[in-house]
Symmetry: C2
Subunit: 163 residues, 2 copies
Amino acid sequence: MIEVLRLGHRIQRDKRISTHVDLVARSFGASKIYYTGQKDKSYEESVNRISGEFGGKFEIEHITNFKNLFKGKTVVHLTMYGEDFRKVMDKIPLDNLLIVVGGEKVLWEVYEMSTYNLGVTNQPHSEVGALAVFMDHLVKSKYPEFKDGKVRVKPSAKGKEFY
Amino acid sequence: MIEVLRLGHRIQRDKRISTHVDLVARSFGASKIYYTGQKDKSYEESVNRISGEFGGKFEIEHITNFKNLFKGKTVVHLTMYGEDFRKVMDKIPLDNLLIVVGGEKVLWEVYEMSTYNLGVTNQPHSEVGALAVFMDHLVKSKYPEFKDGKVRVKPSAKGKEFY
């Protein structure tokens, strides 16, 4: 099971970025996203709406204490300051894995408590881009299919098609 | 040369997402971003500030007519409705390439005029995530180093270090 933790959500400023984090987490195979910061019903609803339409079981949960989540899991914190992710990918398990993304200000404890602090490039980071590339490597570009989706897009060279 | 076109930027709503698109484009090896929609000085300034600090030559330019840009280039439009990108990656050239990302509403012409309409998963898309994964495959996970940066992060397992 792959889960994602999004730190420090702010309703006004982060709604779209947090939603992109969720879309990425879901499409590349995570089953749940936790988030800290401000509880945001409208954000939760848009995430649930997407799973409702496009299938799969993807959950979202607001939490206040992230430390309990870390227990007994391999925790990968994605940060532009981290080790080169390409060097450790073969050590990262696909099960019992928590992937953590910031948030503007990430507490020092997160660096200390994580099993790995990993950078997807050591350049100013998009947490959305970093999560996407990390997960793509993790699942070796094998993506879930969501066959139960009410809406199912059929890949098309020149238009919009559906199954 | 790899360039990116971001369609339909809206100052209020898109600033952060557009900035993430830029961060991704720059870190994975694009040299320039064009954008349509509202001209946004503060967005341009933040992109220029990042290149100024972290190195490399990454340009940003607002344009009004994207059609001229398409001429003589291989154009890859990333869309959740597109063909599976994994199947055509070996046909995509690293030179004279324009990668296009939306925008809420992408004009039909973009689908028609693009050389490829490609989906990174056919699930609801993050243009940031899709661009990151597409570019990562394109450059085969070999990222530019930006040795001229005033600020240069040194990869670190447990903290924040600099060269």
